[in-house]
């Protein structure tokens, strides 16, 4: 999360140079990054990433799974 924390997602973050940083897209990007990291750390896939869920406000949340 450090790469996103206290940033302006449109201006400071390479991942969103050409994609609108909606929470939907943020959810997918966090999933993608963590999946890559976990596949590198657990090459035998004994532990896998199941879901990323994000709360944007008290009213809105988003989930991404593959």
């Amino acid at each position: 999360m450090d790469r996103f924390d206290h940033t302006h997602l449109n201006q400071d973050v390479e991942n969103f140079r050409s994609r609108i940083p909606t929470t939907e897209n943020l959810c997918r990007e966090i999933y993608r990054l963590l999946k890559v990291r976990m596949e590198k750390e657990c090459p035998r896939r004994e532990v896998t990433l199941a879901r990323i869920r994000m709360e944007e406000t008290y009213a809105n949340s988003f989930e991404y799974t593959e």
Binding site: M1, H8, N10, L49, E55, T57
Partner: protein, 73 residues
């Protein structure tokens, strides 16, 4: 046999919802207040769910310290 582990994280960030391929009017109509030129902020909560077997020696699916390191980046 599979157990699901969920851990919750928080971060703050700002953004602006804007599509460069559309006109100012179209962006304003599509995104409303979220299109304001200087952006707006959120305190995001992120729940990360991993799945796997329970290690017979540790009794855990995954060491939380490891997950924190991977997520922290």
């Amino acid at each position: 046999m599979k157990v699901y582990l969920t851990r919750r994280y928080r971060f703050s960030a700002s953004h602006r919802l804007h599509n460069g391929a559309l006109s100012s009017e179209e962006n304003a109509a599509l995104y409303g207040k979220c299109n304001n030129p200087y952006g707006h902020g959120h305190n995001y909560a992120v729940e990360v769910t991993v799945a796997g077997p329970v290690d017979p020696q540790t009794g855990m699916v995954l060491d939380l310290g490891k997950l924190d390191r991977w997520v922290g980046e």
